[in-house]
Amino acid sequence: MKKLNYGIIIVLGIISFIPLLWVIITSFSPGNQVINGGFPFWVSNPTVENYVKAWETAPFIQYYINTFVIVFGVLIVQLFTITLAAFAFARVNFKGKNVLFILFLLQLMIQPEILLFPNYQVISQLGLVNTKLAVMMPYWASAFGVFLLRQTFKQVPYDLDEASRIDGCKWYQTLWHVYIPSAKPTYIAFALVSVSHHWSNFMWPLIITDSVESRPLTVGLALFAQSYETGAQWGMVAAGTVMVIMPLVVAFFIFQKQFVSSFMHSGIK
């Protein structure tokens, strides 16, 4: 019984790993090998030609820069907005708190992803179509981040808060010296989830960008892949795909524990 189950899990684990292994191997295969057949997990004469060609054909450097700007542009503003809002919800009593809290909750249900069409119109009214700013703005408020951080701030002992005030700290100094340091694990969890989420984002940047200057990696990759769908060009598309996923995959393998606990953290209500 036990052996059978572990057997099944090992087989599933191998199957699960195959797509990544295969795309990496294909990215080092010469163009004709894919078509000629042969064992798909072995390259007799590996080549980096696919990477060189992919790199030359599409402006991947620019796409990398764009993705970096977008991902960190989203994160930095989010950190600012969620910190202030979480502090208000966790430690201030004010009129309309419950109503406002429910309004924030709404964003968890109606996420920007499903508002592709009306948000396009908002951006277009602002005259920001085809800018990196347009890719970032819908995500600058994060109800998810606010809730996550509010939970953490609530656990900060009042005594600490009080002590800092007696020492003459202004509210922002208390926030900075007491609350923010004690919420470090939450900030890391939120940052990892936010960065990997926006690195992967596709539909919104697809419709809102239309130039090399503003397009992120995901959209660049999709356009690149579409122009080379025939088998002979697989190597190039595989190389492009590997280039897009590598920063995430490498970061994941290095900081694996942190990633897993962050994603786990993100699911706690």
Binding site: V23, L84, M109, L116, P118
Partner: protein, 296 residues
């Protein structure tokens, strides 16, 4: 000793202070959640091009609801949900239960199941497009070993949904697995010890202890998975464009087509409203029904 709980008194000054703190978030929520939601509702009652909108009442809703493609897309989305959610939840729970035990290689296996979570769906689509390619693809290559012929998995309306579902299960099961791993860590040890003394078999322990105690996790993951089945459509852009003949089309991708390929704004607005209602429905179901039935 009693600690005096000091909170701000709710005077006007503190109200203003709180509103000030919420203001930055609120601007963006208004611009990209509240306003667009209301705008979609409003637009759904108007037809014609943006510059010459005419009030048309419920006409567009009737049109959409009578549209065969719309019905097909909704049906597809339901099939997609039924195909992905229970299987990936089952798999996630199964993997978590066995990988929760300390054994050689279990962390390596966890990695292998979890890594698809962090790969962008659009890159996943690229990889699986190769896997499913007729004749040269990895799947056909594998099936050749058993003497099978070539199959156009993505080009056949009968197989396209199934292979998409398999791909999404591969991508998401490991993500759901970690919630179960977290849930398992919190289960009370003494209950198991007591059951063992009573002579309970492993399967009985699962049925009467593990499964019921994991119910909150299951419900949470289920809501996430259902939401995902309506929200994640990136793969369609690369793999099928919703085809062949809308056999793999999903609601959000259909909105994208209506709005940005056909520029049918009224229809896109109606479809967006329908999707919003579905999303609110899922949450309402969760909070009003499930939360009351299950005690955490």
């Amino acid at each position: 000793m009693t600690t005096k709980r000091r909170k701000f008194s709710s005077g006007t000054r503190h109200n203003l202070f709180a509103y000030g703190l919420l203001f930055p978030s609120f601007i963006f929520l208004t611009m990209f959640t509240f306003y667009p939601t209301l705008k979609s509702i409003q637009l759904s009652f108007y037809s014609g091009p943006m510059t010459r909108l005419q009030f048309s009442g419920l006409d567009q809703y009737k049109e959409v609801l009578a549209d065969e493609i719309f019905r097909k897309v909704i049906l597809n989305n339901i099939i997609f949900m039924i195909g992905t959610v229970p299987t990936s939840l089952f798999l996630a729970m199964y993997l978590a239960i066995w990988l929760n035990k300390k054994m050689a290689g279990s962390s390596l296996l966890r990695t292998s199941f979890f890594y698809p979570t962090i790969i962008p769906l659009i890159a996943v689509a690229n990889i699986w497009l190769f896997i499913y390619t007729p004749q040269y693809g990895l799947l056909d290559n594998f099936l050749h070993l058993f003497g099978a012929g070539d199959t156009n998995w993505l080009g056949n309306p009968n197989t396209v949904m199934i292979v998409m579902i398999v791909m999404i299960i591969w991508k998401d099961a490991g993500f759901y697995m970690i919630f179960y791993l977290a849930g398992l860590q919190n289960l009370p040890r003494d209950v198991y010890e007591a059951a063992e003394i009573e002579g309970a078999k492993p399967l009985q322990m699962f049925r009467h202890i593990t499964f019921p105690l994991l119910m909150p996790t299951t419900l949470f993951v289920m809501i996430v998975a259902i939401t995902n089945s309506f929200k994640n459509v990136d793969h369609l852009y690369i793999m099928t464009k919703g085809g062949p003949d809308n056999a793999s089309n999903l609601l959000l991708y259909h909105i994208y087509e209506a709005a940005f390929t056909n520029w049918d704004l009224g229809k896109a607005a109606v479809l967006t409203v329908i999707l919003i209602v579905i999303m609110l429905g899922i949450t309402a179901f969760n909070y009003l029904y499930l939360d009351r039935k299950i005690h955490y």
